[in-house]
């Protein structure tokens, strides 16, 4: 049975998660190099997906699809930071230079080899 409180809470959480997704997209498109992008994207994606799925789990209720959505939340909270860390470490070990303001604003690429 879906009460008004459940619906309001679920709607608020879903809209907040969508806002976090939008912030992550803006960070991915606008930030100057890879490390700043991965900084913006991993946190915003984990939090946005977590909030949206939490709202959907509240909306579905404990019997039915709610259990599977909680499993998805656990998967997101484990996998998103792990993927971001592995990717940033791979980029750092292959020699991707971080962007700094003293150099040209177009920095942040690999050394030309």
């Amino acid at each position: 049975m879906l009460t008004a409180l459940h619906a309001l809470l679920a709607g608020f959480l879903v809209i907040a998660g969508a806002a976090f997704f939008f912030v992550g997209t803006m960070g991915l498109l606008r930030f100057p190099d890879f490390y700043t992008r991965v900084h913006a994207v991993t946190k915003c994606d984990a939090l946005g997906a977590g909030l949206v799925l939490l709202g959907l789990a509240i909306w579905s209720g404990p019997d039915g699809e709610g259990v599977r959505i909680v499993a998805l939340i656990a998967l997101i909270l484990v996998s998103s930071p792990t993927a971001g860390h592995a990717l940033a470490r791979a980029a750092f070990r292959t020699g991707l230079k971080p962007w700094t303001r003293e150099e040209t604003r177009q920095g942040g690429g690999y050394e030309s080899d």
């Binding site: 879906l2 009460t3 008004a4 459940h6 619906a7 679920a10 709607g11 879903v14 809209i15 998660g17 969508a18 997704f21 939008f22 992550g24 997209t25 991915l28 498109l29 890879f34 992008r37 991965v38 994207v41 994606d45 946005g48 997906a49 949206v52 799925l53 959907l56 909306w59 579905s60 039915g64 699809e65 599977r68 959505i69 499993a71 998805l72 998967l75 997101i76 996998s79 998103s80 792990t82 993927a83 971001g84 592995a86 990717l87 940033a88 470490r89 791979a90 980029a91 070990r93 292959t94 991707l96 942040g108 690429g109 690999y110």
Partner: protein, 97 residues
Amino acid sequence: MTEWSLIPLFWGVLIFLLVNAFACLWRGLAGPTLPDRILAANVIGTKTMVVLVLLGLAREQGIWLDVALVYGLLSFTVTLVASRLLETGRLKGAWRQ
């Protein structure tokens, strides 16, 4: 008792996330380095997983949730394998900017 329905909100958020995913596709296509492209693929995978869950709840078909679970696991695995291949030096050459 009034029936509260959030289905139109779910469709709206679904369209919004699809627009966001297509915006992230630009970074995947034009990103200057290879890790940018892998990162964009990871982000699009996460958004697609949430879109699958929203689709399953909006259409009231529970099979989409299983699809979303498998899709999330596969997207995570693809990102890990791609970053591992990049780190061990098997993905380079023309891809490096």
